[in-house]
Amino acid sequence: MTATATRPAPAPPTWNPLSLWYSDGWTTTKRNLIKIKRTPDMLVFAVIQPIMFVLLFSQVYGGAISVQGTDYVQFLMAGIFAQTVVFGSTFSGSAMAQDLKDGIIDRFRSLPMSSSAVLVGRTNGDLVLNTISMIIMMATGFLVGWRVNSSVGEFFAGLGLLLLFSYAFSWVMALLGMSVRSPEVINNASFIILFPITFISNAFVPIETLPDPLRVFAELNPVSALVQAARELFGNEGSAPVPDVWTLQNPVLTVLIGVVVLLVVFVPLCIRKFASISSR
C-alpha cells in the first residue's frame, strides 16, 4: 500500500449555498435511487402489493359492495391509490431508522454538507418509488376495467395530488424513524396508525354505510379528503351524495392545505432532529 499525497482542491468559491444544497440533495437522492435498483425485494414489495390490492378488492369485494351511480372498480381505485401512497411513506421512516442503525448518519453528519440533504434525498427517493408503484397500479386498474372519466389535465392533477401527499407524509414518517430508531418497530408501529386511517375512510366503502362513531371519524379523516379529491379528478365519484363536511366538499383544497401544513411543521422538525442524532 503506497500513500498518495494529492490534496484535492476544496469547494470552488463560486458555489453558492443554493447550488450546494441542490448538489447535496441530488447526491443523496442518487444514493437512494441506486438502492431501489439494487434491492429487488423492495421494488417487488412496492409493485406486487398494489397489484395484489387492486385484484383482491376489485374481484373479492366487487360483487358485494354496491356504489350508487358507478361500479365498484371505478369507486375503488382512488381508495387504493391513497392507501398505497400512505403506506409507501413508511419507507422513509424505516430507511432513516436503518441508516441510523448502520452508522452512516454519523458519516453524513461529519461532512460539510447541507443539513437537510440526507432528508431531501430520502424523501425524493421515496417519491420515485411511490411514482413507480402508482404507475403499475394504474396499469393494473386499467386491466380490470378502471377508466378515467375526466380530462388529461384533471388526471395529472389527481396523480400529482396523490404524490404530493405521499411526499409530505414521508417527512412525518422520517421524523418517526429518527425518533424510534428501529426499522422493525417503525414497520410494525406504522401499521397500527396507518390501518385505521386508511380503512376507516371512504377508500373502500361509501362513508354513509359506516356506523355513527366511525362515520364521524371517516368524514374528518384527511385520507378521506385525499380519496375524494382523487375520485373527483379521475371522474370516478358516481352519483352518491358527498357528506356535508367542508373537507369533503372541498377535497382538493383540503389536501393542498394539509400538504402545506405537514411540510411547514415536519420539515423543520426533521432538520432539527437530524442535527442532533448520532448512531448508538
Partner: protein, 331 residues
C-alpha cells in the same frame, strides 16, 4: 501549535440504572502534526470524546476548539477540515465501494471528476481494486472497515479522527493502515485515534492520553508512561503451581513492588529497579529453594502494566458498562 484543545468536557447519559457519566471533566490538547492516542477500556468515554470533537454530539459542559474553530459555534467549519472514521463502518451497503467514496467526495464538494479520481486512488490504496465495483453488501468486515477508513481520507483532512481504527482488521490490513497513518502524518496531518490496544498506541502515537471513567488519568509519551512504573520486570514461569507461594516470596525479596501472580498460579512477575542483577539473584534463590522453572527472563514494562498501575484494573476489563449499551439506553 495546539490544533485540538478541549477542556472540562462533561457528558452524562440517562440510563435505566441512573445517570452514566461518560465524560467527567476531560481535558485534552493535541499539538499540530502529531499523533495522539486516547487509550482506555470499553466505556471509558473514548467514543464520546471523538463524537464531541467531530460535531456529532454536544457536551453538557466544557469547550472544544479544533484548529481555532469552536466546535459548538461553527460545526460546519469544523466538518470541512476533518476526516472521521467511527467505531463501526459507516458505509452504504447498496452502493459499491467506489460509489461510497465518490458520494463522500461529492459531499465534500470536490466535484464529480475529482471525486471519482480520488475514489479510485483510495480503492487502490486500500487494496480493494478487485472488489471496488461490487456492492459493499458482499464485503467482509475488514473490507467494509477499509472503505470506511478511506471515506475519512477522501478529502485529505487537516485532522483525522479514528475511533478504534483497527478493530476488526486482520494483521496485514492493520499494518497497512499504520503505514497510511504514518504517511499522512509525514505530510502534516494531525491524527487523534482511540484504541484499546496498547501496542497500537505504543506504535503510532507521539503522545498517549490514558482515560478511565471519563477523565484523563495519565498523559505522556509511551516511554514516560512506562517510566512511571519503574524500569524492568522480572518474569518467571513455574513448572508446578504449588511452588507459587515460595516463588512469590523470592520475587518480593528483590522486587520494587508487589509481585503479580497469573490466574493459573504459574506465572509471576515483579517490577525491579536494577534489572540484570535482580534476575541473577532471583534465579540463584529459586535454585537454592529447589523450585523448577519453565522459563525466566526480563522484560520492559508494557502499557498493560501502566494501566494496571494507574487504574487498578486491567485495560481489557470494562471499566463500567459497555459504551454501546450506554448509548442504547439514551434512546
Amino acid at each position: 501549535m495546539t490544533i485540538i484543545e478541549a477542556s472540562g468536557l462533561t457528558k452524562t447519559y440517562k440510563s435505566k440504572t441512573g445517570p452514566v457519566h461518560a465524560l467527567a471533566g476531560l481535558d485534552l490538547t493535541v499539538p499540530r502534526g502529531t499523533v495522539k492516542a486516547i487509550l482506555g477500556p470499553n466505556g471509558a468515554g473514548k467514543t464520546t470524546v471523538v463524537k464531541i470533537l467531530t460535531t456529532l454530539i454536544r457536551p453538557d459542559t466544557g469547550t472544544a476548539v479544533v484548529d481555532g474553530i469552536n466546535v459548538l459555534d461553527d460545526p460546519k467549519a469544523v466538518r470541512s477540515i476533518i476526516g472521521v472514521s467511527g467505531q463501526y463502518a459507516a458505509v452504504d451497503e447498496n452502493l459499491t465501494g467506489f460509489e461510497n467514496l465518490e458520494m463522500v467526495g461529492r459531499l465534500y464538494h470536490l466535484g464529480g471528476a475529482a471525486s471519482r479520481r480520488r475514489a479510485q486512488e483510495l480503492i487502490d490504496l486500500f487494496e480493494l481494486t478487485a472488489a471496488g465495483n461490487r456492492p459493499v453488501k458482499g464485503f467482509s468486515g475488514g473490507m467494509r472497515r477499509r472503505i470506511d477508513l478511506a471515506g475519512a481520507l477522501v478529502f485529505n483532512p487537516k485532522i483525522l479522527f479514528l475511533d478504534e481504527p483497527t478493530t476488526g482488521l486482520d494483521p496485514r490490513s492493520r499494518m497497512a493502515l499504520w503505514g497510511v497513518i504514518n504517511k499522512l502524518v509525514d505530510d502534516g496531518t494531525t491524527v487523534l485515534l482511540t484504541t484499546q490496544y496498547l501496542e497500537e498506541a505504543d506504535q503510532l502515537a507521539d503522545s498517549i492520553a490514558v482515560i478511565d471513567y471519563g477523565k484523563v488519568i495519565a498523559e505522556g509519551t509511551s516511554d514516560e508512561l512506562k517510566a512511571q512504573i519503574g524500569g524492568h520486570r522480572v518474569v518467571i514461569a513455574l513448572v508446578d503451581a504449588a511452588d507459587a507461594n515460595a516463588a512469590r516470596e523470592v520475587l518480593a525479596r528483590y522486587g520494587a513492588g508487589e509481585p503479580q501472580v497469573s490466574s493459573d498460579g504459574r506465572g509471576i512477575d515483579v517490577a525491579v529497579t536494577d534489572g540484570p542483577p535482580a534476575l541473577q539473584h532471583v534465579l540463584a534463590d529459586l535454585r537454592t529453594a529447589g523450585i523448577e522453572l519453565h522459563d525466566a527472563g526480563m522484560r520492559r514494562p508494557t502499557l498493560d502494566d501502566v494501566f494496571l498501575k494507574l487504574t487498578g484494573h486491567k485495560a481489557d476489563m470494562a471499566a463500567g458498562e459497555n459504551e454501546d449499551e450506554k448509548m442504547e439506553k439514551v434512546k
